[in-house]
Structure formats: structure tokens, C-alpha cells
Amino acid sequence: MTMQNIGIDKISRRDFLGKGLVFGAGVRGLAAGYAAVPDVFAKAVYSAKSAGVTNDRVLVMIQLGGGNDGLQTVIPIGDAKYRDLRPTLGKEADAALAIDKDHGLHQNLKGIKSLYDQGKVAIVEGVGYPTPSFSHFDSIRVWETGDPTRRQQDGWLGKTIAKNYDSAGHPLVGCATGTTSTPGMLRDLQATLTVINDQASFKFQGNGDNVDRVMGTLYTGTPGIYGALFDTAMSTVRDTVAQLKTSAAKYVPKASYSDNQKLVFSSKNQLAAALQLAAELIVTGTGVKVLHVTLGGFDTHYTEQTRHADLMTYLDAAVSAFHQDLTAYGMADRVLIATWSEFGRRPVENASGGTDHGTAAPVFLIGDPVKGGLYGQGPNLAKLDPSQNVGFNVDFRSVYQEILSGHLGLDGQDVLGASFDAIPFMRAAGS
């Protein structure tokens, strides 16, 4: 299956009615979604937007890809059922970092525990959605679009950008670092966003300035169904290259970032490098509002204990360095870090020392503007559903709602399609 469909046809169709088609595709082609995007479309939508930056807050989403095991992350140390259900994994309860008599963080989350003790970490327990999907791709799409009915194509953060921020000339309003493709959460053809896998190589090779200019010409008015997509991508590249030239010169990391984490399976994503670049973009005033980074490897069907423990160490070290860096630059009060994962894992351990796909799990919200503590309600292990999974206690959109309204100062309704009861994990501005 492809989770990768970008809603080109939708946008282009809407925009194109009355403007005709390329290739003589005719009405049949239109019906089939083969409308083309006009050459001027890409730029026009950006300039049509009004300036809408309402505050100086920044959001950093960290995707824990594969389905992070919530019960191994926020461990119900006071619940005997947990140890019963997990003969191997349950031993982690003994080493957990207790935050109260019922909850302990995984022993490798030492940095995050320290931030929790400073009141800078909110943990929302039991976050999920109705009729959960156990498919990675389906559930990822639900979280990305904010739509459990799986009808939406655009990402909730892409929509947030498109609806609220004038991004003309500001390619970094939405940005994914440490990856090559646009994350689904940021996806929206009307949002400018850039993707930077590796900063050092994000420039034109050869006689760079000339290549830059020539590509600007070559990717102008490109016909065809992908024309606007290519032209927009190239114009974003050129803006980003220019932006990075100045930001790199202004930034020296004030924390120690390392991707030398030993993992059972090597990581596809360099989380620390991605967060370091995120820090650079934030502290050098590039206008970045929404960042997305990913750490994969959480699909622990097999030998989970070591694999998960190593990932916890990796996550903890990268997040701690990032927070320390922002603090040293005096920017920590502006930045919210939020984790997300497509689902948690089944409470009962399987015979491979792992766990299969599950449902609700905790979400972490980290940063100085956060009102620390526990929110929501943890899993009831004594009362599993017929699929042997836990029910959900908090709709994930209630978390999104607070991110939008409590952090970014936006009305979430146009993004989420409805108003949700926000979980009040953000401090009021100025408090």
C-alpha cells in the first residue's frame, strides 16, 4: 500500500476547473484526476496569504516510528498485572525512575526524568483514537492527518502552516530535518516547507551560484501534473540554500550532540544531528515554526528489551542535548517538543521477548513552556479489550488542540475540523 499519496489531484482539480488541461486529457482525464497544475499556481498561493505569525513559539515533533511501547516508557511500577503480562520486559519495573508510586520512566530516560523533576515535562497517558487500526500505515496516517476516519490527505501540521503562516520567502516555516522526504504531518501542497537531510551538503555543487541560477530558470513554468511540485521544490531549495548560508555562520552548538548510539539494528535516522540542525534553525532566527524529526526502530516484535532500552538512551541523549542547547541560547522558553508514535504495543509479551501492535500510549510534551506533570489516565491492565489491548482515555486530537491553541496561539478548529477539549499542559503565556 502507499501511504505516500500526496493530494495533488485534489488541489489541482479544484484549481484547474475552467482552466483546461494539458496533454488533451479532456474531461475523462479530469475525472480520473489527471488535471495539471498551472505554472503560476505554486507561487500565487503563497503570496495570497496574509501574515499570520501570532507568537514566537516553535513546535518540534519527534516521531517514534514503528509503534513505541508505552508500557516500557512510562512503566506502571505499582501494577502487579504489568509484571504478570510481561515476564521478561516486566523486569524493567525494578530499574525504572519513579515519578510517583505508580509511575516510573524507563531507566534510560535520565535526562528527561531530570527535566520532569524541573516541571518541564508533561506526560499525557492513554492517548489514542476510536476503533484503532493495527496497521502501521493506517495508524500513521490517522496521526498525521488528525483524522481517524482516514479520509484526509493533508497533514495536520501542513494545514496549520498553510492556514496560518505567510511563508512567501520563508521556506523554513515548516521544516523536516534528518530525512529525505516530506513527513506526512507536514504534507500540504499549499504549505511551503523544506526538507534538509544533511546540512553540510545542502548547497549546489560545482559552480554553485551559477547552478543555482540556472536551476531557477530550468524549474520555471514546468508543465504537467508534477510541474508545480517540482518548481516549488526547486524554489524552496534556492531559498533554503541562501538561508542556511547565513544561519550556519551564526551558530555553534552549545551542547554535545552524538549519533554514536549503539543500537541492535543501526538507525536510518540520525536523530541528534537532526535536532542539532533544528536548534540552529531556531536560534538563528530563520522564522521556523514547525519542525519534524524521526527516530525509527520501535517495531519491537522481537527481543524488545535491549532494542527498546537502546532507543530510550538515544532519544534521551538527543532530547537532552537539544534542550540544553536551546537553554544556552536563551530560547528554551519558546520551544515545545512533542513525541508521537502510531500506536503503543500489546500489554502481553510474545514468546520472542517482544510485543505486537497495540493501541493507546503516552505522549511526551517537553520544554520550558510546559506545565509539567501527569495528564490523562494510564492503562487499566486488569481490563483489556477482546483484542487483549488497552482502551484509550484521551483522544489524540485533544493533545493537538492544546499544541495549537495553548502553544502556537491558533484556533485549532480549522485544522482539526472540530473543537476538542484541550489537555491543559501548557503554561499560560508569561506565567
Partner: protein, 497 residues
């Protein structure tokens, strides 16, 4: 199916005044092109046209489909069925014509690559080098006498995914998997599915090799239905659980070098050698009845005691399989959003053929839709397709290692798909990062080449001579062949297949 006529097409977004001004800048850009590669080549006249014996590139404003012409038809076939072409391959196909070329591509017996040195003996002591593995496959892609089989091997690699990270390079499994996919690439889908299920790399990647009747692991059971055959929403969670039980009992095979390593490690640690540790003679999974599930389960509506073949047979009886696979094939080879009647027609014929892959692919390439205007430039080349086509256009098969090392930056390191769902497709290949890395690959490749083939009519050969206004202006104003190659290979036209 009434084909939309080209004559009905009106030029659409005629260049606006603003675009023309930018276009005029294109000419100036063209002058600057002289040194874009840092090669310091200076042409005799910066405004010189292409090869003086050929006509200047004509801008077509819109990319009007040329697919009613035989040359464009074979070019589209070569771009989509073989990772693009050399000038010689293009000319051969042009002489043969579409039908003969298609017959040759489909019927050429699958050529087996030469062994990758050391891969069969891979162990924890001597792992496979990933770049060497990737280059080995790219060498085969670039030079194989059965290029369509390579293209299908690549398709199955993105469908029946595994990655070297989880499979590891400390066993021959990931290498064997490539050989197995190739061997079965054009046969029966049902046979392929069995080989996939018992493939050692797959046993490890989706944990079936760990699954037992007593404690079934659901990973493979789920993806077998959701991603490999039927599609999401066509089965229940109970089917996932029942399938996990029904499929349990396989383990990964051990090679002699793997056994030797385990014994040596035990000795090193002062432990006795593990008992009953012997190498297996097979290169596929080993079924151990003692680890299987005893008893009957209800799977996809049937209650009985199952074995692996019965499970696969039951899946192949589902109506969802043919449309699901057909949709994916059409999206890869014809168009992003194939209409339902098109999918159903091809799927029905495929099912009738007993799921013969050659039949499916022949039907796809000979379907009228393949050459209709809506199919023209409707697909985005993957990084591998792009780079291999570049290497062919530049007659540079020595680029295999460079291609292997450049894929990751564009989002496609072979043997390392981003997720079990496989590679992105079409629009999702296009991000700012990937557009930049694609251009940079062209720049550094051209900059690193000692000798370039003459440009000649390369824009005709590779992109049918159908170019946008800026592409035409830049090509016409380029002063030398390196610059022309840069414009062609970095153009939006060349990114599409």
C-alpha cells in the same frame, strides 16, 4: 475506451508576461551556464545552438504527448520497463518497433548475476559490505542481458521488502533474497509468494523465523495480507492472529560459516560448543513441526488445521489480491491513479492466467492506456531509475558504485527501504532535499567524467524532444556539451518516466 485526441488540446498556461521576462533571464542564465560545472570550458560562441547539423530544440510550451509516434512509444517502454536506455538501446528498439521490443524484454530468459565474492560465506566474522552489495546489483541492472527482469526484481524488492539493518549483513540472507526475487520475478505470483514466505531474509525481517505455535508472532501474518497480497481493510484482526498460528514453525537456515563462527565464539568465551549445531543444506527456511501450531483455527472464513501452503492458497482465493497487486503495478508502470475499470480489466485477466506475472506485465504494456496522453510523464523516476538512466545516457556503466553511494541522499539506498511498506512513489519522491540531491548528482557526475559522449540529439533520444520553454531556451543557449548534458539530465523532463 475513447482516447482523448491531441488536437482537442489547447495550449493552456500560455507564458504570462512575467514568465516571459523570466524566460528572457533564461538566456542570460544560459550564458552563465558556461561555467556551471566549474569545468572552464568555453564554447566558440556562447549563443551557439546545439549540434549545428541538428535543428534547435523547439519549445512546446505544454508537454503535448508524442505517444502516437513510434519513437516515443519505444522510448516510454524503455524508460519504464528497463531503467532507461543508452543511445544504442534506443536505436535498436526503434528498429525493432514496440511489439518486438516488448517481446524481447519479456521473453529474454532471466540472466543470473555473477556471484558476489564472499557473500555466500557471510557470517558475524565476515559480514557483507553493503556498498559492495548495492554496487553488485547496480552492475547487474546496468549490464544485464535481461533488463526487464532486473526492473521486476527491483519492483519486488520494493514490494516484498526487507532491509539489511534488521536482516543484518552477518548472514548471506539479504544477498540470497535478491537472487530469489530475480529467479521468481517473472514466473507465477503464487510460487513467488511461497519463496517470499520461506525466504531467510524475510523470516528474519518480519519475525516469522521466531514465531511458534505456542507463542505466535503476528508481524509476518499481518503484512502478508496487508502489504503483500490483499491490502488494508480486507481482513480482520482475528485473521492476523489465526494466520500467525497457521504459519508458525519456520526457522532460519544456518550456513557452515555461521556455524563455524558460533562454535569459535563459544570456545573463545570458554563455553562448550552449542549442541546439535549443524549447517543446513537449504537456502530457505527450515520447517520444524515441533514448533508449529497443533490444532485448527479459523482463517479467512475457513476452519481447519493449516500449513503454510494452505494459507497461501487461501489468500490467493481472495478477490482482493488481483486488484491490489494490479493497482500497484499500474502505479509503478503506467499512471499514478489508474481508474477502477482499468484496474479491474487487467486484474481479471491476470487472475484468469493463474497469476502469471509475464501475462500481467504484457497486458499492462500492451494496454491502450499505456500510450494514452494521460500516461505521458505521469510517473516520477525513483532515484535508482534516475541515476541508472543517467549512467546509460552518458555511456558510463562504471558509475555503479557512485550510484550505490548516492542513493541514500535522495531517499533510496538499495536494500534499505524506509519502512516495510517499501519505497515512496511518484510525488512523494519530490521534496526540496531530493530535488537538490538529484541536481547535485548530475553536476558531480559530469564534473568527474574524463570524456562525455557527444550530445547530438540526446534530448530526442531521452525525453522525446518534448521540452518546456525554459528547458528549450537553456539547451539552445548552452555553449558546450557538458552544459547541454547538465540541462538535459537535471531538467524536470528527465525526472519523469
Amino acid at each position: 475506451m475513447d482516447e482523448p485526441t491531441r488536437t482537442a488540446a489547447k495550449p493552456r498556461h500560455r507564458l504570462s508576461r512575467r514568465t516571459v521576462v523570466i524566460g528572457a533571464g533564461a538566456a542570460a542564465g544560459g550564458l552563465a551556464v558556461l561555467r556551471v560545472l566549474g569545468l572552464h570550458t568555453v564554447g566558440p560562441d556562447p549563443r551557439a545552438l546545439l549540434d549545428p547539423t541538428s535543428a534547435p530544440v523547439v519549445n512546446t510550451k505544454d508537454w503535448v504527448s508524442p505517444l502516437d509516434a513510434p519513437a516515443a512509444q519505444v522510448a516510454q517502454l524503455l524508460r519504464r520497463a528497463t531503467f532507461g536506455m543508452t543511445k544504442a538501446q534506443y536505436e535498436t528498439a526503434l528498429t525493432e518497433g514496440f511489439q518486438k521490443t516488448l517481446d524481447r524484454l519479456i521473453e529474454t530468459p532471466v540472466a543470473t548475476p555473477k556471484d558476489l565474492a564472499g557473500a555466500d560465506a557471510a557470517s558475524q566474522a565476515k559480514p557483507i559490505n553493503v556498498t559492495a552489495l548495492q554496487s553488485w546489483w547496480l552492475d547487474q541492472i546496468l549490464a544485464s542481458p535481461s533488463p526487464f527482469a532486473e526492473r521486476m526484481t527491483y519492483f519486488w524488492h520494493g514490494h516484498f521488502t526487507s532491509d539489511f539493518r534488521k536482516v543484518t549483513t552477518q548472514a548471506p540472507y539479504i544477498y540470497w533474497q535478491n537472487l530469489t526475487w530475480r529467479k521468481n520475478a517473472l514466473g507465477s505470483f503464487r510460487d513467488l509468494l511461497y519463496q517470499v514466505t520461506v525466504d531467510p531474509g524475510m523470516l528474519r525481517y518480519l519475525d516469522l523465523g521466531q514465531s511458534t505455535g505456542k507463542a505466535p508472532n503476528e508481524n509476518y501474518s499481518r503484512e502478508l495480507m496487508e502489504l503483500f497480497t490483499m491490502g488494508v481493510g480486507t481482513f480482520s484482526e482475528d485473521d492476523v492472529r489465526a494466520g500467525a498460528k497457521a504459519l508458525a514453525g519456520w526457522r532460519e537456515p544456518l550456513t557452515q560459516p555461521m556455524v563455524d563462527y558460533l562454535i569459535a565464539r563459544a570456545q573463545q568465551n570458554g563455553r562448550p560448543a552449542p549442541k546439535n549445531l549443524v549447517a543446513d543444506s537449504t537456502k530457505t527456511g527450515v520447517f520444524e513441526p515441533a514448533r508449529a501450531y497443533r490444532g485448527s483455527v479459523t482463517y479467512l472464513g475457513v476452519t481447519k488445521q493449516w500449513d503454510t501452503n494452505m494459507v497461501l492458497d487461501r489468500i490467493m482465493q481472495q478477490d482482493s489480491v488481483a486488484p491490489y497487486i494490479t493497482t500497484k503495478v499500474l502505479r509503478e508502470f503506467v499512471m499514478q491513479d489508474p481508474p477502477a475499470d482499468y484496474v479491474n480489466r487487467i486484474a481479471a485477466a491476470w487472475k484468469k492466467s493463474g497469476y502469471d506475472i509475464k501475462t500481467l506485465m504484457r497486458d499492462v504494456f500492451t494496454s491502450p492506456e499505456f500510450l494514452q496522453p494521460v500516461a505521458y510523464r505521469s510517473l516520477v523516476k525513483s532515484p535508482t531509475e534516475l541515476m541508472v538512466h543517467i549512467a546509460r545516457a552518458l555511456e558510463a556503466p562504471q558509475l555503479s558504485k557512485t550510484i550505490a553511494q548516492s542513493g541514500a541522499g535522495m531517499g533510496q539506498a538499495l536494500f534499505d527501504p524506509p519502512e516495510v511498506g517499501g519505497w515512496p512513489s511518484n510525488a512523494s519522491w519530490v521534496s526540496s532535499n531530493n530535488v537538490l540531491t538529484r541536481v547535485n548528482f548530475v553536476v558531480t557526475t559530469l564534473g568527474g567524467m574524463q570524456k562525455l559522449p557527444a550530445f547530438g540529439n540526446a534530448h530526442q533520444t531521452h525525453i522525446d524532444g518534448i521540452v518546456s520553454e525554459p528547458t528549450a531556451q537553456l539547451l539552445n543557449s548552452a555553449a558546450d556539451d557538458p552544459t547541454r548534458w547538465l540541462i538535459l539530465l537535471a531538467s524536470p523532463e528527465f525526472q519523469l518516466k
